[in-house]
């Protein structure tokens, strides 16, 4: 059972450049931490796939085990776990997030 869920997660994070597991949707976040990450990604002008864990309890628990990370949101870039809200915010402020996105040649609509 675990493997099926992990496979599903791997498939998502490997077939999309940027994936955000969050509470709510990008249009309608239902948690302040999720909203903060959506805001950062939107500000950077990158496309991302939002996955609402509130709609799927199995994914909600599975994603926490997958990364050994107990909280949502979780951001993935090119299949790699980047972090939760605190790390994403810190990386955005230092410019590391932009560097990471640039290093993967992921297009941003409002390039600096």
């Amino acid at each position: 059972m675990e493997n099926v869920i992990f496979d599903q997660i791997r498939k998502e994070i490997n077939s999309n450049d940027i994936v955000l597991y969050m509470k709510g949707t990008a249009v309608f976040p239902q948690c302040g931490f999720s909203a903060a990450v959506v805001q950062i990604l939107t500000q950077m002008g990158v496309n991302f796939k939002d996955i609402n864990v509130l709609e799927d309890t199995i994914i909600r628990e599975g994603i926490k085990e997958f990364t050994q990370w107990p909280t949502i949101p979780q951001l993935y870039i090119k299949g790699e776990f980047v972090g939760g809200c605190d790390i994403v915010r810190e990386m955005y402020e230092t410019g590391e997030l932009q560097d990471l996105i640039d290093s993967h040649n992921i297009p941003t609509s409002n390039a600096a």
Binding site: P70, F81, D86, E90
Partner: protein, 78 residues
């Protein structure tokens, strides 16, 4: 439901060697905290690994009794 500030500090200090932990109660409601953890054990680790160490020290309480804990980690030189 909510967790005591002192308890959070104890768990992190016990779980991560050589750590100096500062906890602040962000809203004064005993439910939204920020933890600043400085430890030499973080040297050479990525941020994700550093935060995972803090979560491990909290023994599964994060996301359960502990609703909101903003984490900031650094090494003594930073």
């Amino acid at each position: 439901m909510a967790m005591d500030e002192q308890k959070i500090k104890e768990l992190i200090t016990a779980g991560i060697e050589d750590s100096v932990v500062t906890i602040s109660d962000l809203r004064g409601d005993g439910d939204h905290y920020a933890a600043h953890v400085v430890s030499s054990a973080f040297i050479g680790k990525t941020r994700v690994q550093q935060h995972q160490m803090v979560y491990q020290a909290l023994q599964g309480k994060m996301g359960n009794e502990l609703h909101a804990l903003a984490i900031h980690t650094s090494t003594p030189e930073e």
